[in-house]
Amino acid sequence: MKSIIKSVAPMLMMLLAFSLNAETKNQITCTGSTTVLPIAQATAEVFMNNHAEINISVRGGGSGVGIASLQNKTTDICNSSRPLKSKEISTAKAKGINPIPYAIANDAITIVVHNSNLLNNLSIKQIKDIYTGNIINWKELGGANVPIVVISRDVASGTYEVFNDKVLAGAKVIGSAQLLASNNAVISAVSNTPGAIGYVGLGYLNDNAKLLSVNKVTPSELTVKNNSYPLSRKLYMYTNGKAKGIVANYIGFIQSDRGQKIVVEQGFINIK
């Protein structure tokens, strides 16, 4: 046993030296939410333009993928469109990872339908009934006689988790729903499918799909910031421990006035 200790001790000393060197790296990896993706990409581009020696790699996959990557130490920043759950925090802490959240934007989950849809508003209960299969035709809500095509997100999505929490309250999405892997896929499917309904982050809204108000509240800077829009939320970047070095500089940049201007340019709402 003594010989093992003798051989392991120098290795530990060497690794400590290596770990000190590791702090000086100029690479940041940023993984997770597809909702946060456009913010991360746009801010990374500007940040790298101002810091030519730094390289930021931005990946999607969904909030669940980002959280798993943070737990597995395969990313520096986890992008998440929802807060971490107790189980995820517990798992991370046991692995020596201390997830620290940084709010980078305000967002709303917007309900979108095909442009031909006659409706302008749905209540939370009506949305739930649609997604659980209790309402299957738009005529049941005063719309045209068109079957409803339900489009939802996959389970790795933080947007799905928030939607599930705030709208479905744990109920199961109808089995015929299309489960898509990104906001882009949802908005594209809704815009190309008469009768479709979907949900996306604010930044993904475009003229190809029709935005509905929820409980007669339209998502806006005011209604999201004062939480009167029922599907408001914050977007986060998580780091292992308090952000340091170039990671802290990058997140600080996103939270700065310049960074928040980019957030707004991407269609989201600032946190100021």
Partner: protein
């Protein structure tokens, strides 16, 4: 692999058919497989009756083949079904007992003709939200046994979790548990009632008593990277009195099983340690031969060094030092038993998935087991011998949402 038995065919067909039957539900299909080469040198007697080292094992095997289905009925209610398919030609023993007085009627041994074994590992439903406490689930069915490190042992070393290795508890059992997480990631807890025999025994091989096993487990992570935990299980083996005549059974035993677990994760270093105490009492024995009770103790330390931040490849250096001491146990027909196992090894992780987590792992472990025994005893260490093993193992896994 030759032929599968009818039961094995039915389970395999079920695994193929169930996903299609669950149309519309969110169902995950996952698998994990361990292909192993093992070479073992152990002490064996020569013609003069002296012990010498001999090559006793040298083979390839599929050591584990987990196939699992997890389905989400609604957001908080999930089901899980996992089978373990593995290569084996080991003999198994089938015993028939009297239903009246539990006496052994017949016993027969048979070799496996299929070259394959199959066990149901998990089959449970997880009900979240049933009890109005945040992050609390009630789990019913064949499930994890929340004792020590056995329920989240991820085989960074080839060897089993200490409480599994020393047969203190089983890794899965039939029962009902409530389990959950403390707020803000401060830890987890579980309380459960189990059959007590583990997932491998059913029907006539089920323990011949009607008592359940009771378990409590608490893990706390007071600061990031430091986890401390404790587990307690009360179990019995055998029937106190037989059903026919109320005769007391001298083999009836009461077990108190305790475990203290710590895990330190700091930077590239993980250090897991575990202390196990198994107290066994034979209440129906007289104490004349000091055989009425014994206490077995175990201490294990597992250092793991992750090198991926420092070298080009995702490598881990692993080690283990494990003592299991049953020398307090005095039985007339068995020798006392104390074993020290030392492990050193290296893991190479590769083939990253979408989270950049490797889904393949190549493990090379050297394990040295040393029994502190009187080797002249005809049955020292209950038939086991000092040994050295080299194990090379390729683990691979997958998971897909159907």
């Amino acid at each position: 692999m030759k032929q599968l038995s009818l039961m094995q065919k039915l389970v395999c067909m079920g695994l193929l058919i169930i996903p299609f039957g669950l149309n519309g539900l969110e169902t995950k299909l996952s698998g994990e497989f361990w292909g192993r080469w093992l070479s073992e040198i152990a002490k064996r007697k020569d013609s003069n009756g002296n012990y010498e080292d001999k090559l006793v094992n040298n083979y390839f095997s599929l050591e584990r083949g987990y196939l699992g289905l997890e389905t989400k009925f609604i957001d908080q209610v999930k089901g899980r079904f996992t089978v373990d398919v593995f290569t084996t030609d080991k003999t198994y023993e089938y015993q028939t007992y009297s239903l009246e007085d539990s006496t052994l009627i017949s016993s027969s041994k048979s070799g496996s003709i299929d070259g394959v074994g199959l066990k149901i590992k998990y089959a449970y439903v997880d009900f979240g939200g049933l009890i109005p406490i945040k992050d609390l689930s009630l789990t019913a069915g064949m499930q994890k046994v929340y004792f020590g490190s056995i329920y989240d042992w991820n085989y960074t070393l080839v060897s089993k979790a200490p409480s599994d290795e020393h047969k203190v508890v089983n890794s899965a059992d039939l029962g009902i548990t409530v389990n959950g997480y403390l707020p803000s990631g401060y830890g987890e807890y579980a309380f459960g009632i189990y059959n007590g025999e583990g997932y491998k025994k059913v029907g006539t091989n089920l323990k011949d008593n009607t008592d359940f096993a009771y378990l409590g487990n608490l893990r706390i992570t007071p600061i990031t990277g430091l986890t401390v935990g404790g587990s307690y299980m009360y179990n019995t083996v055998g029937r106190d009195k037989d059903l026919n005549g109320e005769v007391t059974n001298p083999s009836y035993e009461k077990q108190q099983l305790m475990d203290i677990y710590t895990c330190l994760a700091y930077g590239p270093v993980n250090l897991i340690s575990e202390c196990i105490i198994k107290k066994v009492d034979y209440p129906n024995l007289s104490d004349s031969n000091n055989t009425k009770e014994y206490t077995a103790r175990g201490i294990s330390i597992f250092p793991i060094l992750n090198l991926k931040d420092f070298v080009k490849y995702d490598l881990q250096l692993v080690g283990g030092y494990d003592i299991w001491d049953e020398s307090d146990r005095i039985e007339t027909d068995k020798a006392r038993n104390k074993v020290i196992a030392s492990t050193i090894g290296v893991n190479y992780n590769f083939m990253p998935d979408e989270t950049y987590t490797p889904v393949m792992q190549l493990q090379l472990n050297y394990i040295d087991k040393n029994y502190d025994e009187d080797k002249s005893h005809s049955d020292y260490a209950n038939g086991r011998r000092d040994s050295s093993q080299i194990i090379l193992q390729l683990k691979w896994k997958f998971a897909n949402i159907l």
